[in-house]
């Protein structure tokens, strides 16, 4: 499945640290930037493909992610949130609002066996602050990252 794009109709969730959440509950664009990992820039923005979890509804999907992150990371911040995004909306918004008509792609990057829904948003570059802020504009909902 790696390499096939996530359909535009589907949704992904991004773990956003509590420091990047504004007092009004909105997510800051800095949560959607590539980061350096051990001196190397990430190739993509890590997200989780919600529909792939194949669960009855969004609440259950978020609960599954909360459990997953509790296992995956030693510490999940009390104020950290999952921000949900529609893939098609992200792609369209960024393409239409950037001068270089930037094309983003969402592709699965499964980390088996524990994180099969892990995916990546491709097309971002380091210090792409404007694109990151555009992505933040189309966040649909946020949910606590800690269950």
């Amino acid at each position: 499945m790696r390499g096939d794009p996530v359909p535009d109709t589907d949704h992904v969730a991004r773990y956003c640290g509590g420091s990047t959440i504004h007092p009004d509950g909105t997510v800051d664009g800095s949560a959607f930037r590539l980061r350096k990992q051990e001196g190397e820039w990430e190739n993509y923005l890590s997200v989780n493909w919600l529909e792939l979890l194949d669960l009855p509804n969004l609440q259950v999907e978020i609960a599954a992610l909360q459990q997953l992150f509790a296992k995956k990371f030693k510490k999940v911040g009390a104020t950290a949130r999952f921000a949900t995004l529609n893939c098609g909306e992200v792609r369209t918004h960024v393409r239409s609002e950037t001068g270089d008509t930037r094309e983003l792609h969402v592709r699965p990057e499964p980390e088996r066996p524990h994180d099969p829904s892990h995916s990546g948003i491709y097309g971002l570059r380091p210090d792409d602050d404007l694109i990151a802020d555009l992505i933040a504009e189309v966040v649909q909902e946020t949910y606590p990252a800690r269950g």
């Binding site: 509590g18 800051d28 664009g29 800095s30 911040g77």
Partner: protein, 251 residues
């Protein structure tokens, strides 16, 4: 025949040294005589002839160096230069005064800066901002090491920016994963201004604002600037209109 004595000790103000050169010649070579002082560019020299006119001694100061020369006449007694040249330790050389270096102030911590912000009231929303900064500090501690701690230089930059622009309403502040403060002013999708304080001097900003010539279009701009120049840079987009009025997003 010319013999030279050089004192490499450094000197300071030219005018002071000019006086010293003149005084040296006056005092050391021919008491009571009036030395001829000449100045050429940075070179100052004081010349005197001995009472028997057998030789002339010249004290020259150039580029911080003393040079002593004695020109003997053909029939002169072989004067010992040492009789004419003052011992080095007696030369009236101006030595630089030791600089008084103040003890460096202990580095200010984020905690100190937040406390002083609150006490000084340098910005109208100091209390709200200080509370928010303390919250962010607490969150960053909880989320370490994925979240870097609040960068003190970034905090200095933000406080300098807010102090320089006292008309700004309170920004909505977050901490980037790198530990930089980022302030946001937003009215709607086409009135959006976010400033990340990279250190005490530099910022990175994102601006969504109506095109000044075609207000129905939105300009999307990002870039780097300095704390003291940012508002001038974005002034053509009339950012002040919605970041310094009640229409702007309150904290």
């Amino acid at each position: 025949m010319t013999r030279t004595h050089t004192d490499t000790r450094s000197s300071t103000a030219t005018e002071v040294l000019r006086y010293r050169a003149r005084a040296a010649a006056y005092r050391e070579f021919v008491r009571g005589a009036d030395p001829q002082v000449e100045r050429s560019g940075t070179r100052i020299s004081a010349s005197v002839a001995d009472p028997m006119a057998l030789s002339t001694v010249t004290a020259t100061l150039e580029a911080g160096m003393w040079r002593w020369e004695r020109e003997k006449k053909a029939t002169a007694v072989d004067w010992d230069l040492r009789q004419w040249s003052a011992p080095r330790e007696r030369l009236p050389v101006v030595t630089p005064q030791p600089h008084t270096v103040p003890e460096p102030a202990p580095p200010r911590t984020s905690r100190d800066l937040i406390a002083s912000l609150e006490e000084s009231g340098a910005v109208p929303f100091a209390k709200t901002l200080a509370d928010r900064l303390r919250d962010l500090t607490k969150i960053s501690r909880e989320e370490a090491p994925d979240q870097a701690p609040l960068d003190t230089a970034s905090l200095e930059g933000m406080l300098a920016f807010l102090t320089k622009n006292p008309d700004l309403v309170s920004p909505s502040v977050v901490l980037t994963p790198e530990g930089h403060l980022r302030g946001r002013w937003r009215r709607d999708r086409s009135h959006y201004f976010a400033v990340e304080f990279l250190d005490a001097e530099n910022v990175r900003f994102v601006l969504f604002a109506p095109n000044p010539r075609h207000p129905y279009k939105t300009c999307r701009i990002f870039g780097d600037a300095t704390v003291d120049s940012l508002m001038e840079l974005v002034a053509p987009y009339r950012v002040q209109r919605w970041t310094s009025t009640r229409l702007a997003e309150a904290a």
